[in-house]
Symmetry: C2
Subunit: 148 residues, 2 copies
């Protein structure tokens, strides 16, 4: 079995995609992260859902977490207010870690080894700079369901 046999479709975002749209995609598809590509489709980063959550928390609450308790009523509004001015590019870490990327004809064990090494919930699978899709850790583990 090869990496391409496991790929799932993924919603496409670029650095210019609105942060709010990215949050909605993560929420709607229940993804652990999003693959960020150039407009031409070349992968440039993985944006974990937990990284997006960081930008949901207003700065004054990061500075004084006790305020979260008294100001927590309108959570959805807060998410919108915090994310609206931002793009995906604004939420990416300044130093990007090694990009989790493999080729369609790489094996599932290579996939597991890379995911384990980078502790990454998502690997992009490409052929000739064209993204075939992504494989999540839970998708890889779903192979265990079909084992003899």
């Amino acid at each position: 079995m090869l990496a391409r046999d496991l790929v799932e479709e993924y919603p496409s975002v670029t650095s210019d995609t609105d942060a709010l749209e990215a949050a909605q995609l993560l929420g709607h598809h229940r993804l652990p992260g999003l693959l960020v590509t150039t407009p031409a489709g070349r992968p440039v980063a993985v944006l974990p859902a937990s990284q997006v959550v960081r930008f949901v928390v207003p700065k004054y609450i990061q500075d004084d977490p006790s305020l979260a308790r008294v100001l927590g009523e309108k959570a959805a509004d807060s998410i919108v207010n915090q994310l609206s001015p931002l793009t995906v590019g604004d939420m990416l870490p300044e130093r990007l870690p090694e990009l989790p990327i493999l080729h369609g004809d790489d094996t599932v064990l290579e996939l597991a080894a890379l995911m384990a090494r980078l502790r990454c919930p998502l690997v992009a699978i490409v052929d000739d700079d064209h993204v075939l899709g992504v494989v999540t850790a839970s998708r890889l583990l779903s192979l265990a369901l079909h084992a003899s």
Copy 2:
């Protein structure tokens, strides 16, 4: 909105649960991680899917990743063979990080702040040591779908 309004059911595992069963639960429910509890239901750890993936990779491939290419044919069998002797307890890190846990009446912003601080894809929500469920990062972000 409070943390209890966002909780999702979660499959229950303990340190004694078979590693293979844990992998199957992660794969079946497409979860970013599993909540591990004592037999009495008190939460003790979160086991991320990417941590389980580490144990899927045979030791000789971790030592020489080039072997993954030639030995990658029977991925499902490899997962079963690697995980079968193990339990959830065997896959937990020796030093457990701070447990991501909140109470049902904590606010969504407190939830976001904790998830952001621990960079954790999953928070357990408890009332009186009874686990109400878990909230994932993507579930939290799904609030953005319903914003005005």
